[in-house]
Assembly symmetry: C2
DNA sequence: GTCTATATCCCGATAGAC
DNA sequence: GTCTATCGGGATATAGAC
């Protein structure tokens, strides 16, 4: 009953509280240190309570992933918008992407290292879309109307940012400021190099590898 | 006693058998489906037996990672050696790297997605070294004696291969042959683009960012 | 030095009462 | 929607047989 004296706060939105708490737990202890049981304990609810809101552990992780994409979007777009030239905008995004990975490692890992089956969680792809769109704007401006080339460039830029981020993260457990700076600049420079030689990214053979 | 009639094979090398079985299990069920208990069950030994040979689950995973680096080395060097031009060699490595990730996903994940703390398992870094050396040979040939540039190039190439591999892997659960071909060619082309614009990878400011 | 047997604790998940 | 109770499984530690 809703009598006063209950130890922890019950409220109308356990679902939201669980996402919040999961994010905190992952930030504190990493992905491996997170469990439904521990999150329940923090909120003062029974271990079975989360199952009223999430199918299983992965379903909660997927909700955290959706939030992670919102955070990453919020971290990338402002730096990008400081520039008007497409190449500058892409370089700024690459830099911001690497910085985000360094500063929000647990969230980054939820997205890419958690073993989530994204095909079973379409919400995640939906949450990724705004980011991709901001990003494809820059790419199209550099592709001179060649849509196939635009696709190739988009893949190459994303792979570059992600590759540099992961390389940095497994280089050292806790990258210090200068290591992050170096990695971010490397990603930005590689991005500019790809812009410069973008014609080499085009598919040489037949047309229409895919739509 | 070594009397006949024992159910499963006991032998003198439980350690090697565990590494073998762990690799099989991970290949069959993925990283998340692997446990020390299950590996023990397969070998017909007690769940506590592995602890005579490995400190814990991660310690066994680290041994598997060492083997994974041996496999990756064996998969990358022959394709590379089909060419003599450094740019061709690097492109061949990028292609082979992506193909390895597609064809040996579980091994690839043990290396980069298992959450292993590599600083606690120096054997892994040692196992990685031969690969890096083969690879740095190509890079130096393209750096015109500029050692700082060589470092930057090495990082950029590795990030490119890794980024394309990861992008492919989380694009689809089981990439079909043509998806793998496309990803491998993309990695090879991005590599050539970076070779072409490699001067942009150099650090513009002061000398000696690191040794 | 290698393995068995056992015991504890934590986690994920389900069933049924309120 | 939440709780209590419970099940099965895995990680880990220890004691002792060979």
């Amino acid at each position: 009953m809703p009598r006063p004296g209950n130890k922890r706060y019950h409220h109308g939105d356990l679902r939201a509280a669980l996402i919040e708490t999961a994010a905190e737990l992952i930030a504190e202890r990493g992905l491996r240190g997170f469990s439904l049981a521990e999150a329940s304990r923090r909120l003062g609810v029974a271990v079975s309570a989360p199952y009223a809101h999430f199918e299983d552990r992965d379903d909660l992780l997927a909700a955290v992933a959706v939030r992670a994409f919102e955070l990453i979007h919020a971290a990338l777009v402002p730096p990008m918008d400081e520039f008007s030239e497409p190449a500058d905008r892409l370089a700024a995004m690459a830099r911001a992407y690497v910085r985000f990975a360094a500063g929000n490692r647990p969230m980054f890992e939820v997205l890419y290292v958690s073993g989530l089956d994204k095909s079973r969680h379409p919400e995640i792809e939906a949450a990724e879309r705004p980011l991709n769109e901001a990003f494809e704007g820059c790419v199209r401006a550099l592709a001179d109307g060649d849509d196939d080339l635009a696709v190739e460039m988009a893949v190459a830029f994303e792979a570059t940012a992600r590759g540099h981020a992961m390389l940095m993260l497994d280089g050292e457990a806790a990258p210090d400021r200068s290591a992050v700076d170096v990695a971010a600049e490397r990603a930005a420079r590689a991005t500019r190099a790809l812009v410069e030689s973008r014609s080499l990214l085009a598919i040489p053979s037949s047309r229409g590898v895919q739509k």
